[in-house]
Amino acid sequence: MLIIGEKLSIIAKRVREAMLKKDKGPIQEIAKRQWDEGSRMIDANIGPAEDGGEELMEWMVTTIQEVVSAPVCLDTTNYKAIEAGLKVHNNEWGRPLINSTSNDPERFPMLELAAKYNSQIIGLTVGKGGLPADAEERCAIAAEIMARAMEYGVPLEDIYLDPLVLQIATSQDHAMHVIRAIKMFQELNDPPMKTVVGLSNISNGCPKHVRPILNKYYAALLMYNGLTAAIADSHEIGEVSKTIDVITGKTLYAHSYLEM
């Protein structure tokens, strides 16, 4: 499974301060550590970034790619910031991933960027009117996103469908809805649609010592059901990812498989 390292998020105090001061040190240290732990794409979450978003995303992409040979997942609702990031992204190690479009008309232009810059894009299966009730509703939204993507000229192979993981502490039913949605999304196309989740949202609001446990077991169940990628903490789920890849036959077993 592709792990998209989640640690470069504006929500984290240390990262936020580094972003404000344009201090490369902490950003590059975190990016490098995630790479070493097995992240093969790095998420750059700069929040809504209404002021100076373009400059910030541009700085994030180049700062990350100075030290890590990986593509970047551009994570913001600011259209112009995404475009600025795409312009400087080095595609040598893989194509970027836009995070994200959805069924909300305000997010449609993200598809335009994906087509224009030959980028991959996350399709979050939510609309303007609140959260999807179950797996079926998520699939209906996914189908709309896919149809729209084709109108914009984005190949379906470039879309990662995201069923939106919700907090287990407040929305327990959705844990299973999301697992079913991951399974059903794949059936929407041949070859199967790619899928992604924001994994740690499952344990958001839970006690600190419980969070990694929830994240790991949930990752295992999602992977078993065919999940392609997760925005997650590679330190936490690297072992799960490698082990499930071995159990499901995606990687050949060797005694040292965890060290690879």
Partner: protein, 315 residues
Amino acid sequence: MPFTPPKESYNGKTFELTIGQGDKAVTVGGENVLAFHAFEGSVPREPAVAFEVQDMPPDDWPETVAEVFKNVSSGPVTWAKYCQDSLGAGIIALRLVSTHPDRGDASADQAAETVRKVLAAINVPLIVLGSNHAEKDAAVLVKVAEVLKGTNSLLGKAQESNYKTIVAAAMANDLKLIAMSELDINLSKQLNILIGQMGFDKEKLVTDPMSSALSYGLEYTYSVMERIKLAALAQNDATLQAPMLADVGMFVWKVKETQAAEADLPAWGSLRERGIEWEAVTATSFLIAGADILIMRHPEAIGAVKKFIADMEVK
């Protein structure tokens, strides 16, 4: 609607590996499709065949293959030169049989001296093999590696029980290295990982999943080779992207079919043809499974294999 044959495409490709130097150097590997599937992708190199030479007369080889070398096999230098100059060998594989404790127990220094003389006599790439005695090989190959320094030769074989010493020797002398495991794909991967963890460049490695002969376990080798190639290509597994070696001759020329006299088994036909065909068929099977380098003995079997490669239009 016209029929379009389906084509497989893969994420991974094997590493290109060069042995020897100058215009005689040989490069194998680099393909991103299964063996001979040039119609699906890129097959930049042909498989290579090495002629096996031993450091002592081939007293356990059957007559069919021993008689070819009877005038030259008293010494490895004349033998190797004959293969290169008269038989057109592109690679020499020198096996240090006499270092085996049961076959003369020649010392590491004696082996190194033999290698030095053979190196001086030939200009094609050299593969140097121990006697397959894990403990003795470790001692012998360390000395041999020093002599090979700077020649870009291929040294072997490192196994689970002796790899540390041999890998260190190959690294110190900038050599290519054969890693051999015994017909087990998981152990083959594991050995490559362990060798990589010592700091050995994975692009200088050759994997030997262990050979066999037709009707004596060929299907095991075939299956392991095929699965290694598929993991390298379909799963883009860098630990399995080294070119593969099939050490064919040593397995073929000891089975009953290459030895049994016509008088005893008239229904089996000519002993001579039978032996040569046994080696050729075994070797071509491994080529189809994905082998990149073959070590063989009989020139006519090698000729048949080279014709097969040419007929497959690899280029």
